[in-house]
């Protein structure tokens, strides 16, 4: 099963760096997380809470002719969670429902963050990816 281009590029970006620099890259991703669109901000029912994350993070997914779009919000005080969300938002943008389904569930383990960030924290990103896949599976089945 091949990794979609954008996700594999992100993985390579992380793996090219070491130690502190890898954490800095995650922090850069955190800074790039776009705001939720207004229509989602005003309707909290449109977003799903990711319980696997320690910080409150909400995600929403759309599927249209251009593919998958993911939106996420997490507090400023939770940069790691924002970074994880941002990686997925950028990484799965425009995928087809099938491509997203086939993204390996352990993609978060491939970024070389387990030792730097801890496996327990990385689990939060795994939860986010699982929920994103599930939302799109439900939407594409509908």
């Amino acid at each position: 099963m091949s990794l979609p281009r954008r996700l594999s590029d992100i993985r390579d970006e992380f793996l090219e760096l070491e130690g502190e620099d890898r954490l800095q890259l995650l922090l850069e991703f955190a800074g790039e997380l776009p705001e939720l669109p207004e229509r989602l901000k005003s309707d909290p029912g449109m977003t799903e809470r990711v319980d696997e994350c320690q910080a409150p993070v909400f995600i929403a997914l759309d599927l249209d002719a251009e593919g998958v779009h993911m939106y996420a919000s997490a507090p400023r005080e939770a940069p790691t969670t924002r970074g994880f969300a941002s990686i997925l938002v950028q990484g799965i943008e425009g995928l087809t429902a099938e491509e997203l389904r086939d993204v390996p569930a352990d993609y978060p383990q491939m970024l070389g963050l387990n030792e730097l960030v801890s496996p327990l924290r990385v689990r939060g990103m795994t939860g986010m990816l699982g929920r994103a896949k599930r939302q799109i599976a439900l939407k594409s089945a509908a």
Binding site: L23, L27, D51, E77, A78, P79, T80
Partner: protein, 299 residues
């Protein structure tokens, strides 16, 4: 102690007022010789977004835990870590962090396992410092490596293991998790696995006092009177009780350990760091479900 204590009047009510410093005090004493400020957060990157000038970061996941065994660093690992952070055995350490000092209290507790004597918390933590408009910087502190001695960890005085808890049954236990975790009802959405423990509920006879009750809205500790109402009147603890506190992995209960030990002055309070992730998966240990503490099983 190498550095003066904060004599702020509102700390005088506590059993060990020297364990707290105010944001005002810290702002005045930053840079004092012998003082090391340590930030410890839930989020591993929060420090990088801005920290108190000169503060060093200690992350519980990646630095205080043994990477293989579920345990803390040993004496050599601790000596290496603290030497790298420029901390000496004589340093006065002020811990602060996010979430009402939840993780800062955890780091303080781990330092206590190694008998580091002068450990204090910044009352109100990171949030109060930031809310007061005090400076946070992204500039890395220049650290001069120190030579921290190898100290054997003391796992008896303030730490409890599963067998200690079994032997302790009949004495007070404080479960500091949320009411939903205490009662054992599922909190995760359907179709998602419950991770971390195989069973829900609590240790028989434990009183449920969520850790956050000890903190006021601004993240500072509640007054002694309020704390006594919560823990003595409410949970029925007595000043000479031997108490074990626990949560999910021992972090939130470090906060409660700090409150009971340093603010209320109970002696012999231990933190069960195995907590629910161990107890809830252990074979044949007694468990009670529901919101009542339940009875101690006969032996």
């Amino acid at each position: 102690m190498a550095v003066t204590t904060d004599t702020a009047a509102r700390f005088g009510q506590f059993a060990h007022p020297e364990r707290l410093v105010s944001t005002e005090w810290l702002a005045e004493h930053l840079g004092d010789p012998g003082l090391v400020v340590v930030e410890s957060d839930e989020d591993v990157l929060l420090y990088e977004t801005g920290h108190i000038e000169g503060a060093v970061k200690i992350d519980w996941h990646t630095e205080l835990n043994d990477p293989v065994t579920r345990d803390y660093l040993d004496g050599e690992g601790f000596a290496e870590l603290l030497s790298r952070k420029g901390i000496t055995r004589e340093s006065t350490i002020v811990f602060y962090g996010d979430k009402s000092n939840w993780w800062a209290a955890y780091a303080l507790w781990v330092f206590t396992l190694f008998g580091h004597s002068d450990v204090r918390l910044l009352d109100g933590g990171r949030a109060k410092w930031a809310a007061e408009g005090r400076e946070l910087t992204t500039e890395k502190p220049s650290i001069e490596r120190s030579d921290y001695p190898v100290i054997e960890r003391d796992d008896q005085s303030v730490r409890a293991f599963k067998d200690d808890v079994l032997a302790h049954l009949g004495n007070p236990l404080i479960d500091v998790r949320s009411p939903e975790e205490f009662s054992g009802e599922r909190t995760t959405a359907p179709a998602y696995p419950e991770e971390g423990a195989l069973r829900g509920g609590h240790i028989p006879s434990a009183q449920n006092v969520p850790w956050g009750k000890a903190a006021a809205e601004d993240g500072t500790f509640r007054s002694r009177e309020e704390l006594e109402a919560i823990y003595l009147d409410g949970a029925g603890l007595k000043p000479d009780d031997s108490v074990i506190a626990y949560c999910r992995i021992g972090e939130r209960s470090s906060h409660t350990w700090f409150v009971l030990t340093h603010l209320l002055g109970l002696e012999g309070v231990r933190n069960y760091d195995g907590s629910w992730t161990e107890w809830g998966s252990a074979v044949r240990v007694p468990i009670v479900k529901g919101s009542e503490p339940g009875a101690v099983p006969g032996r």
